[in-house]
Symmetry: C2
Subunit: 183 residues, 2 copies
């Protein structure tokens, strides 16, 4: 067993990436304070091939030194758009057929363990401010609220980690049945 060199990784060019099969998922960041978290979201979005990222409210946008430092170029491959008012965006996404899922701890949330994405549905996953979370009105207006179950003393996963967990969970649920069937 040996490690793979960078040039062997079959990395897509930005052009190939834009034309590749995508995970039917959007990341929506609303009032995310830390540019490092935005940069990490780009990198994770690139790795798992999301369709697009929306940066809402005060969320930092490229070009931005801290985003570049963390995204390591993924800010150029992942399509993104700034939308000032997230309520308008959510209404538009629903009209376009996206299921809007707020990632939050709420009284009638669905545990991510039980989340069962339907084959024909595409999802927009909303992540909120590092301290205040997803806004109350979005939690109320979302199609579903997904909660990452936590079993420890803190119950506050880092937002970058949460994005990775939610996208990986979605990817496995979307891809595994097909993959397993082909073995």
């Amino acid at each position: 067993m040996r490690k793979i060199k960078n040039e062997e990784l079959n990395r897509l060019s930005v052009e190939e990436f834009k034309n590749s099969d995508r995970l039917e998922a959007l990341i929506v960041l609303d009032d995310v304070r830390s540019a490092m978290n935005v940069g990490s979201a780009f990198r994770t979005g690139d790795a798992f091939g999301i369709e697009k990222m929306y940066l809402c409210g005060i969320t930092a946008q490229p070009p931005h030194r801290e985003i570049n430092k963390t995204a390591l170029g993924a800010q150029d491959s992942v399509e993104w758009e700034h939308v000032e008012d997230i309520q308008t965006l959510v209404a538009d996404l629903k009209k376009s057929g996206y299921k809007v899922a707020a990632i939050e701890q709420a009284d009638e949330s669905t545990s991510l363990l039980d989340f069962d994405p339907q084959p024909n549905e595409k999802y927009a996953f909303i992540f909120g401010n590092e301290v205040f979370g997803v806004k109350d009105e979005l939690v109320e207006g979302a199609d579903l609220v997904l909660e990452i179950p936590q079993f420890g003393t803190k119950h506050s996963l880092n937002i970058s980690v949460s994005i990775g967990v939610v996208l990986w969970d979605f990817l496995t649920k979307k891809r595994l049945p097909k993959k397993r069937a082909s073995i």
Copy 2:
């Protein structure tokens, strides 16, 4: 639907956490340069209830200002130990019955999509330096090499995100069959 207040989160006290059912997983960080990554690993380890974290080589250890800032107290709930030489640790872990899994991109790696942890096995997941990855001799000596499949232009997930993805994947594979059976 309304957000849950902090006091409703059923967070465990540090004492309760130490006595709770744990995920049969260890995190091993080897020569991790960034104290922020170490802090995030503590927070994720707390959330998913790992047994213990090992900090090897130059990996920063508590007490450390940057770790505290990112771990938000999880450095006090997650059991940890500094071991200078990771080869000694790996040999000890194998003797204690742990399967040692290096998280790396390697020529004969197992895709995390195909990773099928056995019910009675416990695992130690090794994460390496941010730039150089897991050391070659560890990749060769590990029981298995797990690779997070990536579909984009970069192929270099942030280490904090990788830890979240690997632990969440492990947790779902360990817990879901039991959970689904009980529905």
